[in-house]
């Protein structure tokens, strides 16, 4: 676990979905951890925030653009400390790597990695990132066609979720991909021309359909 960093950043968080009593406990615990966590965390009641903390099992809507963190009750200080530092690390990475997105169109905008977010390839990755790994070649090809949520990418490619997450992190860290949050996934219900593609694959002896 990281000790308080010399370059700590002031961060804002908000609680969503807690009872008044539980919320008080979480806020107090975060205050107690001040000076130990990687960043300085301050509780606020309104956006914008860097982080939204919700209880485990929370199913309501979360504000867009902020990282989300689930905490279990009763609260454990070491868990909270660990999770806050993990969020700090992710935020630092995202802040260093985010690229201009499509916010001007109102269609989508770049955000940090997280649930419900989709990765968009901005350009074909450097050869050194792909190497000779055909799985990476396939994942990059899919991401070049359209943005994907990582779980969907894993399902459709038949490549393990952990591999997809790791590859996404590498793409993002190298500035060739960005995370998007869209009101709706325009491709979510598309069946497309899968029959034709399956027939072509079958005739040419290619694996699939994927």
């Amino acid at each position: 676990m990281a000790s308080a960093a010399s370059r700590a950043v002031d961060r804002r968080f908000r609680l969503v979905g807690f009872s008044e009593r539980d919320g008080l406990v979480v806020r107090s615990m975060v205050r107690l951890l001040a000076g130990r966590t990687r960043d300085h965390w301050t509780a606020v009641d309104a956006d914008p925030v860097h982080l939204v903390i919700v209880p485990v099992g929370f199913t309501g809507d979360l504000p867009a653009g902020a990282a989300a963190m689930n905490v279990a009750l009763p609260l454990r200080a070491d868990d909270l400390w660990s999770q806050l530092d993990r969020v700090s690390g992710q935020l630092a990475l995202d802040e260093g790597m985010l690229r201009p997105g499509r916010s001007d169109t109102g269609e989508a905008r770049p955000v940090a990695a997280g649930p419900g977010r989709r990765l968009q390839l901005l350009r074909w990755p450097p050869d050194a990132l792909l190497g000779s790994d055909l799985r990476y070649l396939r994942l990059a090809t899919m991401l070049g066609a359209r943005p994907f949520a990582i779980d969907e990418l894993s399902t459709k490619s038949n490549i393990p979720l952990a591999t997809c997450h790791a590859f996404a992190a590498v793409l993002h860290a190298n500035g060739v991909a960005q995370w998007l949050i869209d009101p709706d996934d325009p491709h979510a219900d598309e069946a497309g021309n899968t029959g034709l593609f399956s027939r072509i694959r079958s005739k040419l002896g290619l694996e699939g359909p994927r």
Binding site: L121, L122, R123, W124, P125, P126, D127, L137, R138, A140, T141, M142, G144, A145, R146, F148, K156, H187, E190, A191, G192, N193, T194, L196, F197, R199, I200, R201, S202, K203, L204, G205, L206, G208, P209, R210
Partner: protein, 170 residues
């Protein structure tokens, strides 16, 4: 009624378009007259009959720029594009730019794979330079080295094209 589906292999003269299609199908190609701005132009293609009777037709486009009207005629209604680049030519990056510019509508509508042939390890420009050219044209697509005489490698190009089309929902 059975349908015809079309994948185009384009690139400069001698890059191996017909070789690629021929090695993929294991059969010689046939020629067909395609209208090129009022002038019939002979274009090579190979066919695959799918199990529902539909026909997949793989075309090798004529290479020279004077055939641009023929390129447009072939691109109309095509389902995807393979751009072959000959790394041994004097300006392979400029060659790629010509084909991206001419087929930009087709690429935006469907998908594209760039295969760089006659490329040897350590040769410049590397694959990343070809990806840069694609990025400057707003194209994000696979850029891979290929030996068009090797059926497995050509098949891999078609596989990547299909992955794109499947990902976009056709």
């Amino acid at each position: 009624m059975n349908q015809e589906h079309r994948i185009l292999f384009t690139g400069t003269i001698g890059v191996g378009k017909s070789t690629a299609v021929s090695s993929l199908l294991g059969a010689p190609l046939v020629s067909e007259a395609v209208d090129g701005n009022g002038v019939p132009v002979a274009v090579d293609h190979g066919d695959v009959v799918l199990d529902n009777g539909d026909r997949l037709r793989l075309y090798g486009t004529p290479g020279q720029r004077r055939f641009e009207p023929t390129w447009r005629a072939l691109a109309d209604g095509a389902m995807g594009l393979v751009v072959l680049v000959d790394h041994a030519r004097p300006a392979p990056l400029a060659d790629l730019a010509i084909y991206l510019e001419n087929f930009l509508d087709l690429i935006a509508r469907t998908g594209c794979v760039i295969g760089v042939g006659r490329m040897h390890a350590g040769n410049e420009p590397g694959l990343d330079a070809f990806a840069d050219v694609a990025a400057r044209h707003g194209v994000v697509c696979p850029v891979v080295a290929v030996d068009v005489r090797d059926r497995a490698q050509v098949l891999s190009l078609v596989d990547l094209l299909l992955v794109q089309l499947e990902s976009r929902g056709g």
